[in-house]
């Protein structure tokens, strides 16, 4: 089942849209595994110096498990001022 992912900042430019349905291959999946899946599909994400991930509006760690009901957000730093 597809997972709902929202992409902020430059990740929106990389994934091509704010909302993204992503098949993580398994359910539930750890953030570390999800990141690898996303990196494979969108290799430019790998080049970001920092990329934080939130699950249901809370910062997650690599070990956090997510399932298809969760809302995942990609949060890169933004430099503009």
């Amino acid at each position: 089942m597809d997972m709902k992912i929202i992409s902020f900042g430059i990740t929106k430019d990389i994934t091509g849209s704010f909302f993204l349905d992503f098949n993580a291959g398994k359910n539930p999946v750890s953030i570390a595994e999800l990141k690898e899946g996303l990196f494979d599909k969108f290799p430019e994400l790998r080049n970001l110096s920092s990329l934080s991930i939130a699950v249901n509006n809370e910062y997650a760690t690599n070990e956090t498990m997510v399932n298809s009901q969760d809302e995942v957000a990609l949060i890169p730093p933004v430099s503009g001022g």
Partner: protein, 353 residues
């Protein structure tokens, strides 16, 4: 304090005269007098913050005007902090302004920030953001982060009462930063005003101890859909343990004027016997492996403590393997030392050997 001037604020029951007095006694440093810094300064000045510090070495340019509306076309080329403080002083003559016509650097950050209660990070590049963070952690000062990308803005209160820091939001990794700095990205004129004003509100809340700050929360505003997202962030205790600054923070490429030269030009100069200081900023191991004649090895990370070893009266040429580290070194020398002419060997040693 002129109570009539602030009567609408004093009238607020959550605020009152005590909060107004807190503002009057407070000292706020705004790092960056650009898109975020000008609206933030404008409102902190308006509400009656007693002392406002403004630090920025930038000058006003035409492409600033859509979002930095305090500045006029006739002021292009003039110092941002000077013009901004003049205008703010006319708006509120009681404010004490301290202008620093320079960029925040590892050499001046601790000394400057230690004079303030609250810092507003209105900078436009990652190096300065990590420098503001680390300085505030070292000095135990809260700061208000604001950042922009296209139609989106981020705001948070950091290093406040044991809460998260910028390094908790965005851990620094060894991957070179390839998210654009400075003015490189597009931005709609009105967005910085919105985010800078949010930063001002958070500063006021910290100073007057009203409401709930954005500490522990990253607010992301998407103005295209008018959606607000509040993301809970937890502090990583390791990030609160910083006790000193790093030697070097990335200097954005939009600053300073590094002139690139190619291998052929360097070769010509050497053939002609042109006197230069040729500085190789690679690691000692790389240097011992291959090196150019008459080059001196000062690794990039040692530059801050060892730049006095360079003869700055001569044109300086920085070199490394590919031209990337040497560009950082060249920028550092231009901004932080008396070097007059600094050239970076584009393509690095890889383009010669």
């Amino acid at each position: 304090m002129n109570q009539e001037r602030y009567s609408k604020q004093i009238k607020l029951k959550e605020f009152g005269l005590p909060a107004q007095q807190h503002l009057q006694n407070s000292k706020v440093l705004i790092v960056g007098a650009g898109g975020l810094g000008t609206p933030c300064a404008q409102y902190l000045n308006g509400v009656g913050v007693g002392t406002i510090g403004l630090i920025d070495d930038d000058t006003i340019s035409l492409s600033n005007l859509p979002r930095q509306t305090m500045f006029n076309e006739s002021e292009i080329g003039l110092s941002k902090v000077e013009i901004l403080s003049q205008k703010l002083a006319a708006q509120n003559p009681a404010t004490n302004f301290i202008c620093y016509k320079k960029f925040l650097t590892p050499a001046n950050a601790i000394g400057i920030i230690s004079n303030y209660d609250v810092v507003v990070d209105a900078s436009d590049n990652f190096g300065t953001r990590y420098l503001v963070n680390d300085s505030c952690v070292v000095l135990n000062k809260p700061f208000i982060y604001g950042g922009l990308h296209a139609f989106e803005g981020q705001v948070s209160v950091l290093n406040y009462q044991g809460g998260p820091t910028y390094r908790c939001l965005f851990p620094e990794t060894s991957i070179p930063n390839n998210i654009q700095n400075c003015d490189d990205n597009g931005v709609l004129g009105v967005l910085p005003a919105l985010i800078g004003t949010y930063q001002a509100i958070e500063a006021i809340k910290i100073i007057t101890v009203i409401g709930t700050t954005l500490s522990g929360q990253l607010l992301i505003i998407d103005t295209l859909s008018q959606s607000h997202f509040k993301i809970a962030v937890t502090a990583n205790p390791e990030n609160l343990k910083i006790t000193e600054l790093k030697a070097i923070y990335a200097v954005p490429e939009c600053r300073g004027n590094v002139i690139s030269i190619d291998a052929a030009t360097l070769n010509e100069w050497q053939q002609a016997g042109k006197k230069i200081s040729l500085i190789d900023v690679r690691t000692p191991a790389e240097f011992s492996n291959t090196q150019l004649p008459f080059s001196k090895n000062i690794p990039l990370g040692d530059l801050q403590i060892r730049h006095s070893e360079i003869d700055l009266s001569l044109p300086v040429v920085t070199i490394c393997q590919t031209g990337s580290r040497s560009k950082q070194a060249a920028l550092y020398l231009i901004k932080e030392t008396d070097a007059k002419q600094v050239f970076n060997l584009q393509g690095g040693l890889a383009s010669i050997i």
